[in-house]
Amino acid sequence: MIRCYLEFEKPIEELELKIEELKRLSDGKDIDISGEIKRLEKKVKELRSDIFSTLTPWQKTLVARHPDRPYTLDYINLITNDFIELHGDRKFSNDPSIVGGLAKIKDLPVMIIGHQKGRGTKERIYRNFGQPHPEGYRKALRLMELAERFKKPVITFIDTPGAYPGISAEERGQAEAIAVNLMEMSRLRVPIISVVIGEGGSGGALAIGVADRLFMLEHSIYSVISPEGCAAILWKKDGDIGIEDFPRAASALRLTAQDLLSFKIIDDIIPEPLGGAHRDPKGMAEKISDYILKSIEELKAKTPGKLIEERYRRLRRIGSFKEESASALS
């Protein structure tokens, strides 16, 4: 299997190649080097654990965008059975960069919706690199309203660089589509659980992310702007941004799951397998499924009115400001 290693994983790659070579050498031969292999495997594990426990925000950004990272449809296939995909916004077209449909998670019927990136050039283009047009957001809302009418919880998976910045998207009202989703999700009468599985790219991510429970995978990111975009605004010189500025911007934006938990924006972090979700998609999917089921269990007893009121309070308290008493000034 050809694996894709990130720059900072080079020492891991070297060791793993060595192990594979040793395995090939010993294959069918008498020489017993299993002891040596075991020793190296233990070393790889330690190395990986070291590297992944101290990832910088920029390194996490790269893991979150890793080409092997499981996408929405991977998780849907791993945690549900009988997924029935539903298509189209009934207005303009079907946007393949957002997928959604009905399925069961351990016998529990749910509506699952998520951004979908593509694997391989052809599918990536088909999925528009996970950047939705307005019709994608309108499809998502249509499915959520369907779930509401039949009292099914809504699960959303967030994984997008952002909403598509193109002429067609503007012509069809990208801003309006996102705004309407934010507004309508705030009053949906069924539980909404959102999980950031990779990249949470600004408004395009939030547009399916107004939720009663919001989780992030350990190495996922969620930000108002990409590190590249932030660096371009702050440090662009002579029309060029140095790639050395991206790590700086990633750190400044405080976009990691750990940051967002410390800000109390998210409810919890879902731990990833050692080396990232793509090293063990099945194990990752099981954990995600556990968090979803636990949340539904907590939320299902609440009346729609209570659910909506609590969702409103969750949003309403977000903000960093101080207020001097008016009397002190007047």
Binding site: P165, E170, A175, A179, G203, A207
Partner: protein, 277 residues
């Protein structure tokens, strides 16, 4: 080689010195226009009808009955939740903008009367950090919406913004959901919300409250959209169509109700109130 060498004659320079800001170049038609003429014309270019950006205070004067405005939530001040620092710390950046604009934040809000109709009013000011929406802007808009609901009076917002405020990161992003949720409550309770879009309205502001008006009005030629034109040009790698993201373009695409000239705004609001309330 230039034919003539530029010589600096300080004496003459002093003699012909023109007071600064007497003439203005129109952002739209590039004509040089006498500033006083523009000021007299509600900051609208007499040559091409381009509506210049105006400050929140100037906007207030144009829209509400004289002396009827009571400002609310004056004392909100943003924190620096990310500990953000570029060349300046975010705190200093705010101070710099406060000094430059004479405002505490990118938005003013309060109660006012428009031709006798009581309204809750929110006006953004582009000169304060590009009218960007951070925690304070989001909080003031949410409070204004809640206040409108409480007093059962319409909410009017006037937007002029580049979008969410990067310096507050995820806190800014979440303001989009917060204000949209507050707007939803108005709709649930039969409170009218009119959104006026002025040049420019983009990003996290257009993708939240600004595009949620029961009625959406834009000033002529205002640039309005989700992604900025430069970003789109980079993605598309082709020149943008003429008039792209101008108010008239949005009208043509069914995204706003009407384009109204500055001088007619107050009457338009009053007419709408008369018909709806």
């Amino acid at each position: 080689m230039p034919w003539f060498k530029k010589t600096k004659d300080i004496k003459t320079e002093r003699k012909v010195k023109i007071p600064e800001g007497l003439w203005v170049k129109c952002d739209s038609c590039r004509e040089i226009v006498y500033k006083k003429e523009i000021d007299k014309n509600l900051k609208v270019c007499p040559k091409c009808n381009y509506h210049f950006r105006i400050s929140a205070r100037e906007r207030l004067k144009l829209l509400v009955d004289e002396g009827s405005f009571t400002e609310l939530d004056v004392n909100l001040e943003t924190g620096n939740p990310l500990g953000f620092k570029d060349t300046l710390s975010y705190e200093d950046r705010i101070k710099e903008n406060q000094k430059k604009s004479g405002l505490k934040e990118a938005v003013i809000s309060g109660d006012a009367f428009i031709k006798g109709y009581p309204v809750s009013l929110v006006i953004m000011d582009f000169s304060f950090m590009g009218g960007s929406m951070g925690s304070v802007v989001g909080e003031k808009i949410s409070r204004a919406a809640e206040h409108a609901l409480e007093k059962k009076q319409p909410l009017i917002t006037v937007s002029s913004s580049g979008g969410a405020r990067m310096q507050e990161g995820i806190f800014s992003l979440m303001q989009m959901a917060k204000v949209s949720a507050a707007i939803r409550r108005l709709k649930d309770n039969g409170i009218l919300y009119i959104s006026l879009l002025s040049d420019p309205t983009f990003g996290g502001v257009s993708a939240s409250f600004a595009m949620l008006g029961d009625i959406i009005i834009a000033e002529p030629k205002s640039l309005i959209g989700f992604a900025g034109p430069r970003v789109i040009e980079q993605t598309m790698k082709q020149p943008l169509p003429e008039n792209f993201q101008r108010a008239e373009f949005l009208l043509e695409h069914g995204l706003i109700d009407m384009v109204v000239e500055r001088k007619n705004l107050k009457d338009t609001f009053a007419k709408l109130f008369e018909l709806l309330l």
